[in-house]
């Protein structure tokens, strides 16, 4: 039993160890570096392909990347990007505007989306112009964060959708696939990278894991440098083993996690009932026990940490329905006609027992705990909630057709809260029960919100946008369309054994996610430890 632990030793030995990163939800890899494939090998859109710009939710800043600068037309109906000079593909070809045109053609053909986009035009070698069929301010980030593929390669592919692209040509820092095994592979430096001074690490090595358990074990054992997955009691399992070098940072910048109530049901139609239910649940306990204290309770804006600069402190201060107050909740329910009987169980005004299911996918064990805590909290005020945990597909199928009672659900996460609020409050996204929808599962719309959202899309003026958002937050806080629970934390832990330069709370130049657009920022900032 010697020499069997996975010590990073290999061909790249002369330049030091590779940056070893686990992938906890892929038990095996297949050599597929097609960025349009939903199952591309990890790091395809982080280290191989790059986007025009990068939005950093942790710092709230936008980093120009393949585009040096951009500007919107005054009418808001077009956007022009000026591409960076000197960028080359890893095969040595120049990065040109045609690449962007091709990318968007492929993207729209293969994966759809961008319905507001009219044309993508190469003005010259280094300038592209996007024109829109309507004013749509969030477009900047959507378009800007699309990873770009080389035209000279992809226009040759016969069936780009089914292309496995085993030896990708990209602009990213580490593009050269090496030693590909189903359980691991290496990405070596791009010989033609446009920022060679930032390629300080010998390469990236991905390890496949069938689940959190294995990946955590690897992290604890010090076999990986970066641990972007949920880890129970990370302080004692991981950090305490080597406090000098190990650290974690879980900024609450993920998507907001909501408990949604099907508002087409009579019992959830009244905002006061929704607020009462919200007040009845102990978010502190949820966060502490259900989420291992890795995030923070939600406030009345329903905005995750991702949107901190949009958050209106007044709205937060003004409302109380996200604070735990069982007595107030009981009172509210009494007022709404949901009175308790002799056995302490509440009934709806119609005299039916106030009881419902909380749906949650069986594989999300943390959310299962959350649902269980909610059920317990509700039990305390005489509301009977049953946790129903079939497979996620069944849960989501129920959400989509509106045939559910309540459920835990994630929400949209984009650079601006536009999509988030649109999905939660616009009437446009409300579909009848039985009709399939992919947003607004809880089926609540408000005309005021529609108007505000349209205004937001139409303006690129940041101050104006902020005002609109404040107004939306106020409406949200008034309606309580869903019960916000907590922002999803962005998992991330690291060790400085081999590499330094990690993003931290003090230096939030990126999050510690390995699947986010910001990942490339980390890859280009790390350097070998002394």
């Amino acid at each position: 039993l010697t020499g069997c632990t996975a010590t990073p030793d290999d061909g790249a030995a002369e330049s030091g160890p590779m940056l070893t990163v686990p992938r906890e939800d892929m038990g095996t890899f297949s050599q597929n570096f097609n960025p349009f494939s939903p199952n591309a090998a990890p790091m395809t859109t982080q280290s191989v392909y790059e986007s025009l710009l990068i939005y950093n939710p942790a710092g709230g800043d936008t980093v120009p990347w393949l585009a040096e600068s951009w500007e919107a037309a005054d009418d808001g109906l077009s956007q022009t990007f000026h591409l960076r000079e000197g960028v080359k593909w890893s095969d040595g070809a120049d990065f040109v505007a045609a690449d962007i045109v091709t990318t968007f053609e492929l993207q729209r053909e293969l994966l759809g989306g961008f319905d507001y986009l009219d044309t993508v035009k190469a003005i010259d070698e280094k300038t592209v112009q996007f024109t829109f069929n309507r004013k749509f301010s969030p477009a900047l980030f959507e378009v800007g964060q699309q990873v770009i593929v080389p035209d000279h390669i992809w226009s040759e592919f016969e069936d780009p959708g089914n292309e496995e692209n085993p030896t990708p040509v990209g602009t990213g820092p580490y593009t050269e696939v090496s030693n590909f095994q189903t359980q691991s592979f290496d990405l070596l430096p791009n010989p033609n990278y446009w920022q060679p001074e930032k390629q300080k690490i010998p390469g990236v090595r991905m390890l496949a894991f069938a689940g959190n358990d294995g990946a955590n074990l690897a992290a604890v054992n010090g076999d990986v440098d970066w641990a972007p997955q949920y880890m129970p009691d990370i302080q004692s399992t991981f950090v305490d083993k080597d406090p000098e070098n190990r650290a974690y940072w879980f900024p609450p910048t993920g998507a907001e996690i909501n408990w949604q109530l099907n508002t087409t049901l009579d019992m959830f139609a009244d905002p006061d009932v929704r607020k009462a239910l919200s007040m009845a649940i102990d978010r502190e306990q949820i966060v502490k026990v259900g989420m291992s204290d890795y995030t923070i309770p939600a406030d009345c804006t329903g905005l995750s940490g991702n949107y901190d600069e949009w958050r209106d402190a007044d709205v937060v201060a003004d409302c109380d329905w996200t604070g735990y107050d069982a007595d107030a909740a009981a009172e509210l329910l009494d007022d709404a006609g949901f009175t308790a009987g002799a056995d302490g169980q509440r009934t709806t005004p119609d005299g039916e027992p106030f009881a419902f299911d909380i749906s949650v996918g069986s594989t999300s064990s943390d959310w299962l705990s959350v649902a269980n805590i909610i059920a317990q909290n509700l039990q305390d005020i005489g509301v009977k909630a049953t946790v129903d945990s079939p497979d996620w597909a069944a849960v989501v199928a129920g959400y989509e057709t509106g045939e559910f009672e309540t459920g835990i659900v994630w929400s949209a996460n984009a650079p601006t809260p536009y999509q988030y609020y649109r999905n939660i409050m616009s009437t446009e996204s409300v579909k009848d029960v039985g009709e399939q929808t992919f947003d607004n599962y809880h089926r609540l719309g408000d005309e005021r919100a529609d108007e505000l959202l349209a205004d937001f899309a139409a303006t690129s003026d940041e101050a104006e946008q902020a005002d609109i958002m404040s107004e939306l937050q106020r409406i949200y806080s008034e309606l309580a369309p869903v019960v916000p629970l907590f922002p999803g934390p962005e998992w991330g832990a690291y060790t400085t054994d081999n590499f330094v330069g990690w993003p931290t709370e003090e230096d939030p130049y990126a999050t510690l996610a390995t699947r986010a657009p910001t990942t490339v920022l980390v890859l280009t900032s790390l350097e070998p430890a002394e």
């Binding site: 129970p232 009691d233 399992t237 299962l368």
Partner: protein, 317 residues
Amino acid sequence: MALAPPAPPSTGTAGPPPGRASLRFLRALGRNGKAVAGLAILAIFIALALLAPVLFPEDPSRIGSGGASAPGAEHWLGTTAKGQDVLALTVWGSRSSLFVGVIAGILATIVGIIVGLACAYFGKAVDDVLSLLTNVFLLLPGLPLLVILAAFMPPGLGTVIIVLVITGWAGSARVLRSQALSIRGKDYVAAALVTGERPLRIMLREILPNMASIVMTTLLGSVIGAIGAQAGLEFLGLGDANTISWGTNLFWASTDGSLMLGQWWIFAPSGLAIALVAFALAMCNYAVDEITNPRLRKPRRAASANAPTAVTQGAQA
């Protein structure tokens, strides 16, 4: 959920009329060390399962505030990461695990009996078709099938039971069929036919009672299989995470990373409980084997199989 204790062998579907035969069987069971040990362990678990609401009246799954704590005076087996009492979880877990195991085992055995009897009695085409089906099900890899089946049915004990029966009946059927087949060939079945007995009566009153011990062993075997398979399914997260059972306890132990945190007291009890119950059932099984096949019994003294006949000391006149 009412938990029925496994029927004592004499009143099972296949018991001979309460006469001397079954009494003798029971007495033999009482004298067999393996059976006594197995039954004792089973009795303890059944008692715990029945008494769970008395011993731990509170909802054992209630999520508390404090994190995991090691075994101590207050919590004999410690608490989980969610502050639940491990002992309570284990004791409550026995209800669902035993219930599912026993029910699925019984159902699988019943299916096995029906198939076995039908094969044996009707023979020919019925036998061909049914035994082909049995063999196909036997050859299909069980757990993968289980995983696929469990994934497409709504969660709940019912599903787990159905799935376990679907994948578990074939094993029983094969054994029972061959046994029934050999009994079918016995003259007393032909004699009953010649007497003019109806088919159903022949199957149930002539053939079945003579399979009692083999029904017992397959039943015990199916129960063991069902308990283990249920645990496996739940461990993979394919069971119903809301019921408390040994499998879900292990599922939670593993998702909460209790082993990595060195919290063995969360991980160990349910696994041990499964092992103990399976062990107890296996012991009963061997006891039944030994009673029906005296050769398997432990000889009074160790001897190699071809040792020459023992001669009592001083026998020679």
